[in-house]
Amino acid sequence: MNARYKHGLVLAVHPTSRGFGWVLFESPLSPVDWGMASVKAKRSARSLARFERLLTRYEPKVVVFEQFSERPARRANRIRELCRRMIALAGSRGIYTPIYSRESIRDCFESSGAKTRRDIALSIAEQIEVFRRRLPRERKRWDSEDVRQSLFDAVALALTYFAVNTRGPVRSKI
């Protein structure tokens, strides 16, 4: 396999209170599938089942997570437990599961001038055309978070994985 595809398929997931956003890359800046798994009842069990289906369908080599248990990460107990179970499930299939802090993600996008999650989402939308139309509108103080933000959080995680393991920080300007 050539250098472009040396990572195999890389899946990044970002659990939220309403499910999880996920994206599958075959090489940097080359997403092959993505989506937002939405669950309403038995959220952890159903999220885990959806995650398991993704693992079975795509057999990724890597599943990337955001830091969820150590400070300064602030995730709900349910999300922390869900992440632990997802990592255990991926680990049981021999999948590598790197975890990156929000700080690492910010460092990765630093050269593009992105600091907030919104900036990072804009940077992603600029670099990868397919995500442009998925960009959530800017959030007002009184708005709840758009579910599409979890997709961009997952993409940021995957790009951080590629940046850390291949070619340095993400470069384009926002």
């Binding site: 075959e26 090489s27 997403p31 092959v32 369908r57 397919v130 139309r133």
Partner: protein, 115 residues
């Protein structure tokens, strides 16, 4: 596209923002059939393969790498048998056919070098 996924139907559809009903109507298949093609519950038909090439301008090899690899393996196996049958012959036509088969095998090897 790389050969990491068995097929890239869903990737292409989503890349262009098409819904399953929209692509199904362009292909002249049902939504349910398209869904099965995407998840490989159903093997792609020749109409689907040609339709995809017309719609997206990408070859069967690019969109269905696993299917192409399987067809290629089968052809190469038969080519080896065909080539061995030609080995004893020295006439001009057989020499031409041997060169043709050798070139075909070499082309496949070069194409798959990155795998």
């Amino acid at each position: 596209m790389s050969p990491l996924l068995p097929n890239y139907l869903r990737t292409l559809r989503m890349r262009w923002g098409l819904t399953q009903p929209e692509l199904a109507s362009l292909l002249g298949v049902t939504e349910s059939a398209l869904s099965k093609f995407e998840t490989q519950a159903l093997a792609p038909t020749k109409n689907l393969i040609l339709g995809i090439e017309v719609i997206f301008g990408q070859t069967a090899r690019e969109v269905f790498p696993a299917l192409y690899a399987q067809a290629e393996r089968n052809v190469m196996r038969r080519a080896a048998v065909f080539s061995s049958r030609l080995e004893q012959r020295r006439d001009a036509a057989s020499l031409l056919k041997r060169r043709f088969v050798a070139e075909m095998i070499q082309r496949a090897e070069v194409d798959n070098k990155h795998l």
